[in-house]
């Protein structure tokens, strides 16, 4: 089962737990499972049926690019982090 490392401000949804196990083969399914275990996650992470534009997903240290379709492995570690821009 994959692990989601819960952002600090959302640990109130998981009774303070920093790491939770989730089922799911892609990011969308992982979020569905988070919602099932800890209601309130979908509202925090999704805007309509997509990830909020201000949120990026890191899976095993690589930034996702396919939004909810990015694959998640059995052993993956998933982070939800603020999306970053830049300027040169």
């Amino acid at each position: 089962m994959a692990i989601v490392v819960v952002p600090a401000l959302l640990r109130k949804l998981t009774n303070g737990a920093e790491r939770v196990t989730v089922a799911g083969r892609n990011v969308g399914q992982v979020i569905d499972d988070l919602e099932r275990q800890f209601p309130g996650f979908r509202d925090q992470l999704l805007q309509g049926v997509e990830l909020k534009p201000s949120i990026a997903v890191s899976i095993d240290g690589e930034m996702g690019t396919g939004g909810l379709l990015d694959r998640v492995k059995e052993t993956s570690e998933v982070f939800f982090i603020p999306a970053i821009g830049g300027g040169r």
């Binding site: 490392v5 952002p7 600090a8 401000l9 640990r11 925090q44 805007q47 909020k52 534009p53 201000s54 890191s58 095993d60 240290g61 690589e62 930034m63 996702g64 690019t65 570690e77 982070f79 982090i81 603020p82 999306a83 970053i84 821009g85 830049g86 300027g87 040169r88």
Partner: protein
């Protein structure tokens, strides 16, 4: 000359050819946005609010419209209403309603310079006269100019509809709160032998590009429009102009002109949608150029900030805990880079216990925009000076202190994911071994300071096309705007893969109709991501070359080899064709060859940099002279070393300006006092010494060439390095930016008189 990285040897990459667009730039022939003109063109100018915070009661345009030569006047009421929610556009998430309101105010003006109306007239002078004839009735409201004032209970509210998740339905100026947490920070501090806690205030600063914003738009009667402008992102201009002007995106072609500097400030739009809308209204092309005063008043500077930073370490120099509170000015609409600030502030270190609270706060200042590693420089001023102080307390050399705590592959980043291969340790070692650091600094009132910085570098989308020409040369077409010389680097990547000379590749930056989607030139992504797309496109072309040779020689493509521009096949030395010879056969072997590459990079290697400065502080005037400055940066693999050095030097210079003189000065009515380049004081030639550079190359994993982002990270560490140098020269720890003569003078004075800590003396 062959350069070797991680087993890879390059023939073109790493050399220093003359840039392909050099001739037109040194002769003044290169066309920047303001250099474009069309027949029968009108000129547009904006009316801007003289108040920092006010309700618009009415706008009367009849006198202005009556002026001969005036063809159209619009206000916010003419523009379509857009959804008040985040969408993707530009370089990251964008709230289109805020963007449109920023371009033309609706019911309120939120900063000195907020645009209220736009005029199109037959010449620029008439447009300016007309602007002066527009009558606006304002109800002036109290200005909120600092994060402290904005966060106070009872503060005037900028946007009554704004809510953040934590305050429920309460009206607020706090747009968002982010938090990062690891371990148990209070426990962590218990195990610290030394703890330093300070509050820092950094002033708002501007990107300072020499070329003001511009745009020429023509709305065709068939609905198809073209926009020429200086921008860092032609596809972003297309998307955002379409939304704001209410024109279908697919009907707009954006032609990126040459750009006179951006640094993040030209990733968004200010004029283009307005010019487009005015063109639609008048049926004529419309040109708009921003004045320098308006550039400073009304285009995104980067946030001023207040950062309370507490870091603890053991007496052996091991960092144990960090507690940070940071509030950044978003300006009139949400979107400061406080998140990036929070994620970079302690990024170079392995600290087991930490908590970081970050706040995005509205104030009556212009909407902030990205500025070279946005958010990171403010943050590094706080953390890198405290780390320096801790090193001093432990009696450990500042580089050694950092090596003891350095993040490495596998260390958890602030947001949680582990680092892949990074070059922080190598950067520190290179600094330690640099001629500058090894030299002795002697003399009174002199001090040396070092600091380090981190920046993520982004990936995102890039497309490229490589055409092979009939004479064995090639063209490479990219969609990434060239701000600093990237087209030469892309030509070099193409040449490397094709085995030809850089001079034999013509690079072209295409418009939005001619090339596939490209994300913006920013975030230090271009050399890396567009480089990867170009690499892929060139490899695609090589694959096709091999197929053609296979056809000619009746072999299988797998049996064909290609190296240094020559096709061969194993076991038959008589079969040999140069790319030039093969090109002559394109027609009869299948037609022209075009290679395509399109990438959306998942991970881009982050960069670390370090700055070392020697300063001399004049005890009578508090003027700080930079005696010597060095930038050390891990770039993965330098494509064109001269331009890599240029990026490092440019970031260092901007960082020094940020450290010593640059700031937005507002009066108590919220009006910007220094909206010109005399008083918004950027470094001149005379303010800087030679800028030394040391390029470190720790290849980024997963990239065909190993490049990391180059453009940004060099700006992160200079202010902290200068602050540390001042501390070693004077014994004073400055906690404000800029450390301008009046502030440093006050701190020196207080120290001499033994009065109050400089933390109190150096308030903003």
């Amino acid at each position: 000359m062959a350069a070797s990285t991680n087993g890879k040897t390059f023939k073109v990459i790493g050399t220093r050819p003359i840039r392909h667009d050099g001739l037109e730039k040194v002769t003044g022939r290169a066309k920047y946005g303001a250099d474009y003109s069309l027949p029968d063109m009108l000129h547009g100018k904006m009316l801007r609010s003289p108040y920092a915070h006010a309700r618009i009661k009415s706008i009367k345009i009849d006198k202005a419209l009556a002026l001969p030569g005036v063809k159209a006047i619009i206000t916010g009421a003419d523009l379509p209403t857009l959804p008040d929610e985040m969408a993707t556009g530009g370089e990251g998430p964008v709230n289109l309603a805020h963007l449109s309101e920023n371009l033309l105010a609706r019911d309120k003006v939120l900063y000195d310079g907020h645009a209220v109306a736009a005029v199109a007239a037959t010449n620029a002078h008439i447009a300016e006269e007309a602007v002066r004839l527009i009558e606006v009735d304002y109800e002036v409201l109290p200005p909120v100019m600092t994060v402290e004032d904005a966060m106070k209970p009872g503060a005037a509210i900028l946007n009554p509809k704004l809510r953040n998740k934590e305050e429920g339905d309460k009206e607020t100026n706090i747009a968002s709160h982010l938090q990062f947490k690891r371990g148990e920070v209070d426990e962590g501090f218990k195990s610290a032998d030394y703890v330093i806690e300070r509050e820092f205030k950094t002033a708002m600063v501007h990107q300072g590009y020499i070329e003001p914003h511009n745009g020429v738009a023509i709305f065709g009667s068939d609905g198809h429009s073209t926009i020429w402008c200086s921008t860092q992102g032609s596809f972003a201009v297309r998307a955002l102009s379409a939304a704001v002007a209410g024109v279908p995106e697919s009907n707009i072609k954006v032609v990126p002109a040459e750009i006179g500097g951006g640094f993040g400030g030209k990733l968004t739009v200010y004029l283009e949608p307005i010019a487009l809308f005015l063109s639609k209204k008048t049926g004529k092309p419309v040109k708009m150029i921003m004045s320098r005063g308006d550039v400073l008043k009304a285009t995104g500077p980067t946030s001023g900030s207040t950062i309370r930073c507490k870091i603890g370490c053991t007496k052996d120099g091991k960092l144990v805990a960090a507690k940070i509170w940071m509030a950044y000015e978003a300006g009139a609409y949400p979107g400061s880079p406080v998140g990036a600030g929070a994620m970079t502030i302690i990024a170079p270190y392995n600290i087991p216990h930490m908590i970081i609270d970050a706040y995005d706060v509205l104030v009556n200042r212009p909407k902030t925009a990205a500025y070279r590693a946005p958010g990171a420089t403010n943050a590094a001023m706080a953390s890198e000076t405290i780390i320096d102080e801790l090193a001093d307390k432990c009696g450990i050399d500042p580089i050694q202190f950092r090596l003891l705590n350095a993040a490495q592959e596998g260390t958890a980043q602030t947001a949680g994911p582990p680092y892949k291969k990074i070059g922080y340790v190598e950067t520190l070692e290179a600094l330690k071994n640099s001629p500058h650091y090894k030299s002795k600094l002697e003399g009174p009132n002199r001090g040396r300071g070092i600091a380090t910085g981190f920046w993520f570098n982004i990936g995102m989308n890039s497309s490229a096309i490589v055409h092979l020409n009939g004479d064995g040369t090639a063209s490479v077409v990219i969609g990434s705007v060239d701000v600093g010389g990237t087209r030469a680097a892309q030509a070099m990547v193409t040449a490397e893969v094709l085995g030809i000379r850089a001079e034999d590749v013509r690079p072209l930056v295409a418009d939005t109709d001619s090339i596939g989607y490209n994300d913006v030139t920013g975030g230090s992504r271009t050399a890396v991501t567009t480089g990867a797309a170009v690499f892929a496109a060139a490899e695609d072309a090589v694959r096709q070359l091999k197929e053609r040779a296979a056809k000619l020689w009746e072999k299988k493509p797998e049996e064909i080899a290609y190296a240094d521009g020559v096709l061969t096949t194993a076991g038959d030395p008589s079969k040999k064709l140069t790319i030039k010879e093969m090109a002559k056969q394109f027609a009869r072997t299948g037609g022209p060859i075009t290679g395509r590459g399109s990438v959306n990079l998942r991970t881009v290697g982050p960069s670390f940099a370090a700055t070392c400065v020697d300063v001399e502080v004049d005890p009578d005037t508090a003027k700080v002279k930079i005696l010597r400055a060095t930038c050390v940066q891990d770039v993965g693999k330098a494509l064109h070393p001269s331009y890599v050095e240029g990026q490092m030097q440019g970031g260092t210079a901007q960082g020094i300006g940020w450290a010593l003189n640059e700031e937005y000065v507002y009066d108590d009515r919220g009006n910007l006092r220094n909206f010109g380049l005399l008083d918004y004081r950027m470094p001149t030639c005379l303010d800087l010494p030679e800028l030394e550079t040391v390029i470190v190359e720790v290849p980024a994993p997963g990239h065909p060439i190993g490049s990391r982002g180059v453009g940004e990270v060099s700006i992160v560490s200079p202010p902290a390095a200068v602050a540390n140098a001042i501390a070693h020269a004077t014994g004073i720890r400055m906690v404000v930016l800029p450390m301008s003569p009046p502030r440093l003078m006050k701190a020196m004075h207080n120290k001499r008189n033994g009065t109050e800590t400089q933390a109190a003396a150096a308030g903003r």
